[in-house]
């Protein structure tokens, strides 16, 4: 098995999960209604736990301790897609980003459940069940708000158009795409992207929202190579502030 390809793939999943988990945790105490506050906080907790599990797999492959990897790297060492690091903004943007991201994450983990790398396949079979609640949550809100009032529909539509170039950046290809597919570690970003498009089309089709024309959108790439927006470093500074005051402290 090409270990470099595998590690690159695991880092990208772990970083996506950690960064979106951190963003979702920023809704704690801030949700528009109590139930949404709890929902985003719970999803954040799931995601941070899932990222820990992925960093643990990387540690078993010789990388540093999960906490060190999570808290001591700088922005240019992170492999998350830029979509996950964008600020939460208003609730409409958060729910649209959550829908676009979670749909891709659910499909990615589903594909990983058949990975030839058994530790990842085992983890994926577990995470799949948890993500089902995230994706049901996202779909429910997109369907309700996407068919409710003029204001909710136009807000979601605007957020959809804003998020879409970044969402397409989820599928930025790895330099190891061929190896990953050939060794059955992962079926590849192309295949994931196709599944993702048909899945979001299906949900949006039940609403008054319009899927922007993907052919004319320029995807925002770079995240997978460590080229991030100006929003990631401040997020990392805040996330790691306590850890960095005394690395190695026992809590």
């Amino acid at each position: 098995m090409n270990e470099q390809a595998l590690k690159e793939f695991l880092y990208k999943m772990a970083d996506d999960t950690l960064i979106i988990g951190h963003r979702n945790s920023e809704w704690t105490g801030m949700g528009p209604i109590l139930e949404e506050d709890i929902a985003f906080s719970s999803m954040a907790q799931d995601q941070i736990g899932q990222s820990l599990a992925l960093f643990t797999l990387l540690h078993q492959l010789g990388e540093q301790e999960p906490d060190t990897v999570a808290f001591m790297r700088n922005a240019n060492q992170f492999h998350n897609c830029i979509l996950t690091e964008l600020p939460n903004q208003e609730y409409d943007f958060s729910i649209v980003r959550h829908f676009l991201y979670t749909t891709s994450a659910t499909l990615r983990w589903d594909m990983c459940a058949h990975s030839s790398y058994e530790p990842l396949a085992q983890l994926a079979r577990k995470v799949k069940g948890e993500l089902r609640y995230h994706s049901l949550h996202a779909r429910t809100w997109i369907q309700q708000l996407g068919s409710a009032t003029e204001e909710s529909i136009s807000r979601l539509q605007r957020s959809l158009e804003l998020a879409m170039p970044y969402a397409l950046g989820i599928f930025e290809e790895s330099p190891f795409e061929k190896e990953l597919v050939a060794q059955h570690i992962f079926d590849g970003e192309k295949q994931l992207r196709e599944k993702w498009i048909s899945s979001i089309e299906e949900v949006l089709g039940k609403t008054r929202l319009v899927l922007p024309d993907l052919k004319v959108i320029q995807p925002v790439l770079g995240g997978r190579k460590g080229q991030h927006s100006e929003h990631l470093q401040p997020l990392l500074d805040e996330m790691s502030e306590v850890f960095r005051t005394e690395p190695g402290a026992e809590w």
């Binding site: 139930e35 709890i38 929902a39 599990a53 577990k126 069940g129 949550h137």
Partner: protein
């Protein structure tokens, strides 16, 4: 001398720290107890990957094994046999209800919409005139519901498939 059945009985003492009436054995997170090469192995698996109680539960299992004089043992957290809510025993379901948490329904298929969380029987009055308030609750494994008969909110230990 003792066997794995005896060890499982001892492990009945170890409760879920968030639901102190429910043992880890009845919750279904103890997936295996076996004696191999002069050593006892106890396998545990998390209900949710991000469950923050896992470390405490593992320490509790180790403490109970030590207290019963077992010297050579290893407690392993593994995903080889993943947890799903059907692993909760009948005794565990009863304990949940007595604690005030609705037990999860037994799953016949994969969960594909939230309707499985509607009309959950209220743990107080058993009525099904209830509605789902949120698929997420005060801990990762709970959802929030409202009973129109009791006019009270309640939580469910929610179903999870794997």
């Amino acid at each position: 001398m003792f066997d794995s059945k005896q060890i499982l009985e001892w492990l009945e003492e170890v409760k879920d720290p968030e639901i102190p009436v429910l043992s880890l054995v009845d919750l279904g997170v103890i997936t295996r107890v076996e004696f191999k090469e002069n050593k006892w192995f106890v396998d545990m698996t998390p209900t949710f990957v991000g469950c923050p109680a896992m470390d405490y539960m593992k320490q509790d299992v180790e403490r109970v094994l030590e207290e019963h004089g077992i010297k050579d043992f290893e407690v392993r957290v593994t995903l080889a046999d993943t947890w799903n809510s059907d692993k909760i025993s009948e005794k565990g379901r009863l304990a949940l209800r007595q604690f005030g948490l609705a037990p999860p329904p037994v799953l016949s298929t994969l969960i594909d919409d939230l309707s499985i969380l509607e009309h959950v029987a209220c743990p107080r009055c058993n009525g099904t005139h209830t509605e789902l308030r949120s698929p997420f609750g005060s801990t990762l494994c709970r959802s929030i519901h409202y009973c129109h008969d009791c006019k009270e909110a309640f939580e469910q230990f929610k179903p999870l498939d794997s």
